[in-house]
């Protein structure tokens, strides 16, 4: 069984984890075009190389970020999302439209 190194729980079996998709910048849903939103929801680079992805340790309900190579399946690094996400994100309409670009992740 493949072992994934969870930043919270240490090395665990891969069967305890769920893949959550690429980490990507969310466009502002109130102001972006349909094409931008479609790109965010459906499209992907899907190339061979290192990708930054969300993973969930299902047993403890803990989300983290992993850097993984899509051909060798090697996980290069796992870390807590606080390395990228430094502040709380508000989903309210007012907050979403008023946030500066770097916070609308």
């Amino acid at each position: 069984m493949k072992i994934i190194n969870c930043p919270l729980n240490g090395p665990r079996n891969s069967s305890e984890f769920v893949h959550g998709g690429e980490v990507r910048q969310m466009p502002d849903p109130n102001n972006c075009t349909d094409k931008e939103w479609a790109d965010y929801v459906f499209y992907s680079d899907n190339q061979i190389g290192v990708v930054t992805e969300w993973w969930l340790h299902a047993a403890s309900g803990y989300w983290f970020i992993a850097e993984r190579h899509t051909a060798s399946d090697e996980i290069l690094r796992t870390y807590d999302p606080s390395e990228i996400y430094t502040s709380r994100f508000e989903f309210s309409e007012k907050a979403a439209s008023g946030l500066p670009e770097e916070m609308t992740v």
Binding site: K2, D34, A38, F42, S44, D45, N46, Q47, V51, D73
Partner: protein
Amino acid sequence: MPFSLLKYGLNKDYPFEKNADLPAPSALKQHYDVVIIGAGGHGVATAYYLAKYHGITNVAVLEKGYLGGGNTARNTAVIRSNYLTSEGVKFYSESVKLFQGLSNEFDFNIMYSRRGQLTLAHTDAAIRGFRQRTEVNKHFGGKTELIDPQQIRELVPSLNMNPADQPVLAGLWHIDGATARHDAVAWGYAKGATQRGVELHQLTEVTGVDVEKGKVTGVQTNRGKVSCGCVVQAVAGHSSIVAGMAGIRMPITTYPLQAMVTQPVKPFLDPLVSSPALHCYVQQTGRGELVFGGGSDPYPLYNTRSTMDLKESLLAHAVELFPFMANMRLMRQWAGLTDMTSDYSPIMGLSPVDNYYLDAGWGTWGFKSTPICGKTMAELVATGKVPELIAPFAMSRFDTFRQVNEMGATAASH
């Protein structure tokens, strides 16, 4: 031994060049009207119909490996049309019809064998879904019925009716379900295409696509540069990568999909049997082997080295369906790469680059659509107009949020 055979064998001209199935390799020309990337079933079928129906023979099929050596050789050769959406059912029914005549058309046996395909329902919700599929299929002239457990027992006496404590409640019986030899389909199309003047270049990898002012003008390969009028991309498993060379981003994620085959045994299983709830399908080949496969791996990967977890669950479920399989020996195990779209329908037709045509997103439904894909893609290339049958599968459907939600796309559910 007849003397004529001995004479033939000792003839110094043997093997006769003119009798060869494929012409000897030649140098790449400077220019082709049409370049097809990928000599799998879809690529060579497109070349075949271009030459046969449209008289376009200045065509090169470029293949980085060998003919039919990619996902054409890795699928489990299921042919069926019992889909859910009207768009899907119309498209795949045409494909089944074309498959039925291919051996005669090629004068080459593709070992087409109509067995019927049986999908099992283990829940009331699954039965409701099957009812809908039955009616949609009948409406478009397909032969699909909902059958009860007694009928299932009669069709497949060896089936465990209570696999993994999930009793079989009903079955979707698709009478047109069939299988064929996947290699032979690619060989038949390639032979027919090259006899009509199409060039097939194996070991020729496309390394770049030349685009000028939004229009494709040529491709770069490991054997040099080729200019062309248009390009058809038919590279299941690497669609995003090749499209990326032309600067096209696609709504595709690539996952490995596993399958296995056992030692051959006496014929006992006529229909192709699948259970979406158990993520498993089983069929017996003409040679007596049991072929079985499952759902895709749980996360995206460009690697056919299959994961142990999926192997274990696939084997466990196959043994639940047919308990005596526990005593059989496995001969081979492999994986293919599936280009999954979020609505389980293919991506066919025009792309954001002019004269660059896409035949992609063939997740787990590529082999069964080989003939109709070849025919419709050839029509698109020859006329420049998108055939009605594939219009719903345009990539632009994702931009307008008009997906074709094909939940009947897979016999094993993902």
